[in-house]
Subunit: 258 residues, 2 copies
DNA sequence: CGGAAGCTTGATGTGGGTCAATCCGTGTGG
DNA sequence: CCACACGGATTGACCCACATCAAGCTTCCG
C-alpha cells in the first residue's frame, strides 16, 4: 500500500495537513465512502466550494481512484474522453505533440488540480497526461459530473470557474512564451512553482522539481541547456541555490524583478 | 443604421448567407425578439445546438447588442465581469499586457465567436478586447446565462464545450509559440485564418487581414519586421500573394508543409 | 559496481531582433 | 483637387540571445 509520503519523500514537510490515511490501491479500484471529505487535498481541489449535501453527491460519482506510475500516461491525445481526473497525490505534465515530434508541455500539475478538461469539446483528449512520479488520481466520470452540474448550481459554477481558470492560466503562459526572455521565463516558472507549493502548505523557498531540464525547456519554449544556464546564472547571482532538482530560492524579490 | 456590409465591405463576398437585416443601433440598445433565430451568424455561434424552446429562452436573456468602434475596447483587463459577448459582426483582438508594457495578443476573433470567458473565474476580466474594425456584439449577461444553464442541459453542455474549445485553442497556440519557427508560425496563422473564413462562407484563398503587422507579431511572438519578411518570403516562393492587408493564398498545400 | 540518463559548461553558429532608411496608401486640410 | 503628413509596410545592415554541437561530470538505479 502507498501513502502520500511516497510522493512527498524528498519534499520539505507540509506545514499543514499531516499524511492522512489514503485509500490505497485496495483490491478493486477503491470505491471508498466520503473520499473527498477525508482527502487532504480537499481544500485545494474542485469540490472546495460545495456544501455537505453537494459534496456527498459529488463523492458518490467519484467512483474510483487510479494509480499511475512515473512515466506512464493517464490519457493520450486522441483517446476517447470519458472522465476528468483530480490529482490526489503526485504530479503530472500535459503535453501536446507536433507532427514532427516536437513536444510542447502545456502544464505541470500538482495535487488538487484537475486534468482532462481538454476532452470536453471534441470528446477526445487533445493532449497526453504523463505522471512525473508515481501518482494517484480520482476518476470523475464526465457524464455523471455533467448530470450533477445540472442539479447542483454550486457545482456548475465551480466547474465553469475551473475551466475559466484554465483559460486564464494558458493566456498567461502565452504571454510568457510570446514576450519574455529565457531568463524571465525561468524566473517566473520558479515563482509560480513556489507559490503553488506554498498554497499546498509546503515551503515556498525550498522544493524539489519533479521534471527534467528538458521537460522544463519544453514547457518554457527553450532548450534544456538554456534552462541549465539560467539556473547557473541565478546561482552565481545569489538568487537561488540549486542542486540538481533541489531548489532553494534565496532572494525571491530579486527573482520577481528579473 | 448599419448592416453587415459595413464590416465586410472589402472582404470577398460570402458564398452562403446574404446580408440579412440586422438589428442596428436602434433607439435603445436594441432588444429585439428572436434575435438569434434571424441572425446570420447563428450557425457559427454558441446557441447552434439548441432546440427551439431553449433557443427562445436563450434569446430572451440576450438583452442587447453593443456597437464597438474600431480601436475601442469591449472590456479591459481588471474590469468587473458582468457578461460574455457573442460577436455579431466585425472582429476583435484579445490582449494581455505585461507590466513592462509588452503586449501578447491571445487571439483574433471573428463573427460568431464568444468573448469574455476569461472573466468567469475571478469575476474580473484578465485581458483587453479591442475591436479591429467597427463591430457589434450581443451582450449575454453571465448571471442569467448561468441560471439558464442550470435549466437547459443542452445549453450547459454547449457552454462547457465552448470553454473546453478555448482551452484547446490556447494549447495549440502554446505549441506554436513554444516550438515553431517564425516561418511556420506565419504559415499556420494564415492557414488558420483561411479555414475560419471558409467556415463563414468566405473565400479561404483570398481575404483581408484586419490587424496590423505589429498585432500579428504580438500574437505570433515575433517582431513586425519578421512578419513582413515572412510574407515577402512566401511571396517570393509563390505560396501567397500579398498586397498590404490583402492576402491571396496561392499554394495552400505548400503552406501546410512549411 | 557499471551503465544510462540527466546535468553542466564551453565553443561556435544562426534565426530573428534591432536600428534605420525608404516606400506606400490613405485621410486631411489648404 | 492636389499636396502633404502620418501610420503602416518593406527592406537592408548589423548584432545578440539562444540553439547547436560536443565533452565531461554527477546521480540514480538495476
Amino acid at each position: 500500500m502507498f501513502n502520500e509520503a511516497v510522493f512527498a519523500d524528498d519534499i520539505a514537510a507540509p506545514s499543514a495537513a499531516p499524511a492522512t490515511s489514503c485509500t490505497g490501491r485496495a483490491s478493486k479500484p477503491a470505491r471508498v465512502a466520503q473520499q473527498c471529505t477525508t482527502c487532504s487535498m480537499r481544500s485545494a481541489c474542485m469540490p472546495q466550494t460545495l456544501n455537505a449535501q453537494d459534496l456527498s453527491r459529488f463523492d458518490s460519482i467519484v467512483s474510483a481512484t487510479r494509480i499511475v506510475k512515473r512515466g506512464d500516461s493517464l490519457y493520450r491525445a486522441n483517446d476517447s474522453f470519458q472522465s476528468i481526473y483530480a490529482i490526489r497525490a503526485g504530479s503530472f505534465k500535459t503535453v501536446v505533440m507536433h507532427r514532427d515530434g516536437r513536444e510542447q508541455v502545456t502544464g505541470f500539475h500538482l495535487a488538487g488540480e484537475v486534468l482532462g478538461l481538454d476532452g470536453v469539446c471534441t470528446e477526445r483528449h487533445s493532449s497526453d497526461a504523463i505522471a512525473l512520479e508515481d501518482s494517484s488520481v480520482c476518476i470523475i466520470p464526465y457524464e455523471l459530473l455533467e448530470a450533477l452540474c445540472a442539479e447542483s448550481r454550486t457545482l456548475q459554477q465551480q466547474m465553469l470557474r475551473t475551466m475559466s481558470g484554465e483559460i486564464v492560466r494558458e493566456s498567461s503562459l502565452m504571454m510568457l512564451l510570446g514576450t519574455m526572455s529565457a531568463e524571465q521565463r525561468v524566473a517566473s516558472f520558479l515563482l509560480n512553482v513556489s507559490s503553488r507549493m506554498k498554497a499546498r502548505g509546503y515551503s515556498p523557498a525550498e522544493f524539489n522539481l519533479r521534471m527534467t531540464r528538458e521537460e522544463m525547456g519544453n514547457f518554457l519554449g527553450m532548450k534544456l541547456e538554456t534552462v541549465s544556464r539560467m539556473f547557473s546564472k541565478f546561482q552565481r547571482d545569489g538568487l537561488v541555490h540549486t542542486h540538481g532538482k533541489q531548489i532553494r530560492i534565496v532572494d525571491i524579490d530579486a527573482l520577481g524583478r528579473v
